[in-house]
């Protein structure tokens, strides 16, 4: 592994993410106003008191944007961890045991990947009912296959490594072989993939909220704030600032993820996604 942390983009990404996470944690002490208090005039442009202006209900947009980090970041993190765990377990089972279970799992993965992800997520949310929890569930359903595919292909080569074979011959169970011998070698690439997918998770989740299928008003969520702003077209500050917040998080995650991937797998052509 080359020194991943010394790449400028990686440092910028890590720095931005640290600042954003700190803002999210410290939000209750940082934000000047209650994000849901209708305390000001409506549609005030950015000014000395309301740095990002106010919205159609006279709420302070700066407070709402900072507070919004407490919605987008943890939900995206939960869904990335959840889909990474589910995808890894299914991929490991498929790769290690092979046979019909392999066929079943990988065909299910193919099926999910036959849909463009946001379309399938829309259909799932429309069926289950629009709220943030169902949106997260929908995105987990569309995003586990990528982990399953990567993990399965790694397991297929690791399974036949001499050190795994010899531990099996010494009497280790298949579960022990997977956990003790194979897991450490799979963990790194899965973490890199999860870092790359984090930005995507934030994008698709805020996209669903923008479409009215995720967070519901009055929740201060960035995607639904952009959506509210789009109804008042000339009040540009209503959608510009929450959108910039999404861009900042996704850009930081992608800077970091891209650097990590270069460090782990410099010759990778899997630059897509």
């Amino acid at each position: 592994m080359r020194s991943a942390w010394l790449q400028p983009l990686g440092i910028i990404g890590a720095g931005m993410l640290t600042i954003i996470v700190m803002l999210a944690i410290l939000a209750p002490w940082i934000i000047p106003f209650d994000p849901n208090a209708q305390a000001f005039g409506r549609f005030l442009p950015p000014n000395g008191e309301n740095w990002f202006g106010t919205d159609q209900l006279g709420r302070d947009i700066f407070s709402r944007v900072v507070h919004g980090a407490r919605v987008s970041l943890p939900y995206a993190a939960q869904l990335v961890v959840l889909s990474a765990v589910i995808g890894t377990i299914l991929g490991a089972i498929a790769g290690y045991f092979g046979g019909w279970i392999d066929g079943l799992i990988m065909r299910a993965a193919d099926l999910v990947m036959a849909f463009p992800d946001i379309i399938l997520a829309m259909a799932v949310v429309a069926a289950l009912g629009p709220n943030l929890f169902n949106a997260v569930l929908a995105v987990v359903i569309v995003s586990w296959p990528i982990y399953a595919r990567v993990v399965r292909s790694m397991i297929l080569t690791l399974r036949d490594e001499p050190y795994v074979q010899s531990s099996r011959l010494l009497g280790a169970s298949s579960g022990r072989a997977l956990w003790r011998d194979i897991r450490p070698n799979v963990a790194g690439p899965v973490v890199v993939l999860a870092a790359l997918e984090y930005g995507h998770a934030v994008l698709i989740l805020s996209g669903l909220s923008f479409l009215g299928l995720g967070a519901q008003p009055p929740t201060a969520e960035w995607g639904s704030m952009v959506s509210e702003g789009s109804k008042y077209f000339d009040k540009w500050w209503m959608s510009v600032f929450p959108g910039l917040a999404i861009l900042a998080v996704v850009l930081a995650a992608n800077f970091l993820g891209d650097t990590l991937r270069d460090a782990f797998d410099p010759k990778s052509t899997k630059a897509f996604r």
């Binding site: 983009l9 065909r107 193919d110 099926l111 999910v112 036959a114 849909f115 463009p116 992800d117 946001i118 379309i119 399938l120 829309m122 259909a123 799932v124 949310v125 429309a126 069926a127 289950l128 009912g129 629009p130 930005g199 994008l203 805020s206 996209g207 923008f210 479409l211 009215g212 299928l213 995607g223 952009v226 959506s227 702003g229 789009s230 077209f233 000339d234 540009w236 959608s239 510009v240 929450p242 959108g243 999404i246 861009l247 996704v250 850009l251 995650a253 992608n254 800077f255 891209d258 010759k267 990778s268 052509t269 899997k270 630059a271 897509f272 996604r273």
Partner: protein, 351 residues
């Protein structure tokens, strides 16, 4: 017997075998896709009849009974699925709650706008992405590569719905360069319908005024839709070309004094291009997804905008219709791309 089948299978040309096998996978995937959409209509919480008919219609017992009869809701699930697929094959996607028309008619109406938008955006993305990727790969690790890396990462990071709004605000509202939302100016009538793509139809019928209007309307949404894909294709082109640069035959070509331009175009880009085509198939799917967001902002009367309105109205049949059609288009595009790949690169046929 099995041996005979096996022998005659291997007697077929390898390309034909590949196409047949790939076709079979495509058909299986389509069947699977209907299974997914059928399952989704089953998990709707509450009464599926109410979810499909809406509150108004489901208060009428006669309508509910007719609906139950038609979809065989009193029968076991496998039989319901069979009825569902039979209906789909006959072009019956159910009734839209919102437009009160058959979903199939809606889909037919909105499809061409999305196809036109996607084709223009994909063309922009291919030219831009491959071009930037070549520049980045040739200048590996020098400043143009670094700049393109940041730009392409920004391209895959920007929320499409937000970029649509910002571009519309700047180029329409502030600068007045863009004529605004929709496919044509308000009140303008489209060209005579031949393909349903306004630009092509206007060209065929020689309607130059409409051609200009259609082009000026499609430019901005197509550009916004292309941004993500440009980023993705740029990054992939660079990676695929760098891999080709490391090959022995490149050193051989340079050693015998071949001009660098010829080395890049003939020996690096050509092998990379096959991989780029495959990725573009995947990128196309992502683009169809992005179309939902772009169309909803630009009031582009396509499948995405229809899906958006249907999702807001929880119009389940309409959403499933859009998902089915888009998944089918996506499967078809990838099928064509795979076959093209096999034509270009014979090694793939054995896979």
């Amino acid at each position: 017997m099995g041996n005979v089948v096996r022998q005659s299978w291997y007697a077929l040309p390898s390309l034909l075998r590949f196409v047949l096998r790939r076709l079979a996978i495509g058909i299986l995937l389509c069947v699977g896709v209907t299974l997914v959409s059928f399952s989704l209509t089953q998990v709707v919480p509450g009464d599926p009849v109410a979810a499909s008919l809406g509150d108004y219609a489901s208060s009428d017992p006669a309508t509910v009974e007719a609906f139950r009869q038609r979809f065989g809701l009193d029968k076991p699930l496998p039989e319901q699925y069979f009825i569902y697929v039979t209906n789909l094959l006959q072009g019956d996607f159910g009734q839209s709650l919102q437009t009160r028309r058959p979903v199939a008619a809606d889909l037919a109406q909105y499809m061409s706008a999305t196809i036109e938008l996607a084709i223009v955006a994909m063309t922009v993305a291919m030219i831009g992405g491959v071009g930037l990727g070549i520049i980045a790969a040739v200048n590996r690790d020098r400043w143009p590569d670094q700049v393109i890396r940041v730009v392409s990462l920004a391209g895959v990071s920007v929320p499409t719905f937000w970029l649509s709004l910002v571009c519309l605000y700047v180029f329409f509202f502030q600068l007045g360069w863009s004529p605004g939302v929709g496919r044509l100016p308000p009140g303008a009538s489209g060209p005579m319908t031949i393909t349903g793509l306004y630009t092509i139809d206007a060209m065929i019928t020689g309607n130059w005024r409409v051609l200009g209007q259609a082009l000026s309307h499609i430019a901005l949404p197509a550009m916004v839709l292309a941004i993500y894909t440009i980023g993705a294709i740029t990054r992939f082109t660079r990676a695929a070309m760098l891999e080709a640069f490391d090959q022995e035959y490149i050193r051989a070509a340079r050693a015998k004094g071949m001009p660098e331009r010829v080395v890049v175009m003939r020996h690096v880009l050509r092998p990379a291009l096959a991989a780029i085509i495959t990725v573009s198939g995947m990128a196309f799917g992502r683009m169809l997804g992005g179309a939902v967001l772009v169309e909803s902002v630009f009031s582009w009367p396509g499948l995405g905008e229809y899906a958006y309105r249907s999702a807001l109205a929880l119009d389940l049949r309409a959403i499933m219709g859009v998902s089915l059609v888009i998944a089918a288009v996506y499967i078809l595009v990838n099928l064509v791309v795979d076959i093209l790949y096999a034509v270009v690169d014979p090694r793939i046929r054995l896979g």
